[in-house]
Symmetry: C2
Subunit: 212 residues, 2 copies
Amino acid sequence: MVDENIEKVSIPSLRRLPLYYHYMKILKKRKVDYVSSTKIAEKMNLTPIQVRKDLSITGVKGRARVGFNIKDALEKIEEFMGWKDKKDGILVGCGDLGSALLGYNNFKNYGFEIVAGFDVDEKITGTEIHGKRIFPIDRMENLCKRLHIKVGIICVPSKSAQKVAERMIDSGIEAIWNFAPAALEIPNDIALHQEDMAASLTILFKKHRKNR
Amino acid sequence: MVDENIEKVSIPSLRRLPLYYHYMKILKKRKVDYVSSTKIAEKMNLTPIQVRKDLSITGVKGRARVGFNIKDALEKIEEFMGWKDKKDGILVGCGDLGSALLGYNNFKNYGFEIVAGFDVDEKITGTEIHGKRIFPIDRMENLCKRLHIKVGIICVPSKSAQKVAERMIDSGIEAIWNFAPAALEIPNDIALHQEDMAASLTILFKKHRKNR
DNA sequence: TAGATTGTTAATCGATTAACAATC
DNA sequence: TAGATTGTTAATCGATTAACAATC
């Protein structure tokens, strides 16, 4: 049942669920116990039907006239999103953005931890950034295989991104989160999520233009 | 014609266009002049039809049997995406992530520039980060109004995000790029783009799980 | 009870894919 | 010329929205 749903969930739903989650977290802190789809929808300019549909994939059940139990809903969202499964990852490219991600404390709330950083710059290899050790890139394969690490984050300049991706794949990485503005060419069985500042900026600008 | 299309373009298309762009940039560097939709589609596991449909919204015309002129296509994408229009923005919350964004050089390729940072921490106000001056948050309204700044980036902790958003709106900001994991409640006429690490991570994990 | 809210089934809307004539 | 590729129109697919019975 749950496994069937995993296949069926749409990307837009996966983007909305965290918003409901953040909002319900705040309500929980305010000691609120229940919230209706109407209330949630109002806050984020969506329809109540959409909120109910999204929440229903997580398996949470609401109560007519009352709404959703916030504690339950938070639990179910965490479970469905896979935030309860612990996952380790490594990060390559410890420049400004890479360093920021190494220190991003919120990852642990989503079951994710970056266990090490890699870089080519000998000035930073051997040091620690935000408590994470930084290794030369030659050590990646050994470390990833030894610790069975499957998630890799790319924060290198675009022109090195493809090479780093290939090296990650050789190291046994199965899921790549790419922050470099580069179209990676990788096999079909490797999961790729592209974080694209260009796309984000453009979506923001287009929405802005539409409003005027 | 162009203005009609602006309304019609889908978010998924806006996310794909930068990928074609990055890829064509590389080809251009390699002195390649033309590329077919088939070739592009192959590289990113899409269909050629989808690539042609996406490209057609930008107004670029291909040539049968030859494909798309890369120089033309890059030009048209830049134009359509609004990367040629110069836009200034400010950033609030100069912690790790905020600092990284202040130093993110790629923004200028998309016509965007962060002109100043704001923070509550007196240890950093008055200093510069990556060449950008950091001001106390009280100065935001005056500066934004004076320089007609319409774009604001939020990099503060979640619990302050709502307050910062409201302050931005008071300062005349019309488009908010929110990196805090918080569901902002803002008027309908303010553009909002939520950058959600939780959503990104989850999409990556789900793709990964599906592959196995 | 009355009425607000859920959850599900059906209808609509929009994006992707297929088909194919036009073109180089 | 033959055949690869574009661009457009039509068909399909999937996500959103509407309708409404069930429920508390």
